[in-house]
């Protein structure tokens, strides 16, 4: 399989490999898997008080294209708001890395991982807002 130079670069020097504690309230974790090939990907984002993604980490067990796709998006995510991050499309990833058609599903995996991480964070944040409201009600 001939990988593009960009895929090879991310594969050989992956950016932002690792994890955050998934219990932190400003961390969103997305876990996805590709049944077509059995690859698994974990993507985490950390937001600051302004809601900007200040850091991202990934851990991917899969082929070079899956590793490159997740490595690339951790770079793209930094500095973005959640809404901006939601607009990252798998086609952008595939184009940037020049993925062949058989590897498009790797970019789909990365896009879905972003969406899953954001969904996880938003769910956490919604809960954080609800908690004080409930405490207030209980005290009355």
């Amino acid at each position: 399989m001939a990988y593009s130079a960009k895929v090879l670069d991310h594969y050989e020097n992956p950016r932002n490999v690792g994890s955050f504690s998934k219990d932190e309230k400003n961390v969103g974790t997305g876990m996805v898997g590709a049944p077509a090939c059995g690859d698994v990907m974990k993507l985490q984002i950390k937001v600051n008080d302004e809601g900007i993604i200040e850091d991202a980490r990934f851990k991917t067990y899969g082929c070079g294209s899956a590793i490159a796709s997740s490595s690339l998006v951790t770079e793209w995510l930094k500095g973005k708001t959640l809404d901006e991050a939601m607009t990252i499309k798998n086609s952008d990833i595939a184009e940037e890395l020049a993925l062949p058609p058989v590897k498009i599903h790797c970019s789909v995996l990365a896009e879905d991982a972003i969406k899953a991480a954001i969904a996880d964070l938003r769910q956490k944040q919604a809960k954080n807002v609800e908690t004080p409201a409930c405490t207030a009600t209980c005290k009355e």
Binding site: V32, G33, A36, C37, D39, Y61, L109, A116
Partner: protein, 174 residues
């Protein structure tokens, strides 16, 4: 006969639990019938036809012999296409388990821990057997194709983990 489904080709009922000995036997018999040697004096057209047959028989056999491919094919016969490329949302717990297994393999590879790998291999074999059993029940007994489709996806992940273990074992044994 080229339109027959793979099971009918070998005289089997379409099911996940099949008699593999019967499959092997039927396969060998069919292969012998279309063997090129038997067509040495045949016309070009007949030779071509026998070749098409041999290919067809081979493809059907490879599909039915492999449990994952067999289950996928069976789902197709029941009108269930698995869109694997578009489906990335597996149950969180299941994905977590995949991640943990892959991490354990990676660690064992680095620390050259053969015992851990052998134990993981056994655990995976056990998981796969259990999953295949559940798949058989879903497909053959309950006719629950939606569940079966999810199990086929899970089986693909387990196969990948097992492949990784085998690769790591080969590495360590060198």
């Amino acid at each position: 006969m080229l339109q027959q489904n793979h099971f009918a080709l070998f005289g089997l009922k379409p099911a996940f639990e099949i008699d593999t000995a019967r499959l092997d036997q039927a396969y060998r018999k069919l292969q012998a019938e279309v063997h090129p040697d038997r067509y040495a004096t045949a016309t070009a057209q007949e030779k071509l036809q026998s070749l098409a047959w041999a290919t067809r028989i081979n493809e059907a056999y490879q599909t039915l012999k492999n449990p994952l491919l067999r289950a996928r094919y069976l789902l197709q016969l029941h009108g269930f296409e698995i869109h694997e490329g578009a489906n990335t949302a597996m149950p969180a717990e299941f994905l977590m388990q995949q991640m943990e297994w892959r991490e354990a393999i990676e660690d064992a590879r680095h620390t050259r821990n053969l015992n851990t790998l052998v134990a993981l291999n056994r655990e995976l074999e056990h998981e796969m057997e259990a999953l295949k059993h559940a798949l058989g029940t879903a497909l053959d007994v309950r006719g629950d194709y939606a569940s079966a489709a999810e199990m086929v996806c899970k089986l693909r992940f387990l196969e990948k983990v097992r492949d990784e273990i085998e690769l790591a074992l080969e590495d360590l044994e060198q």
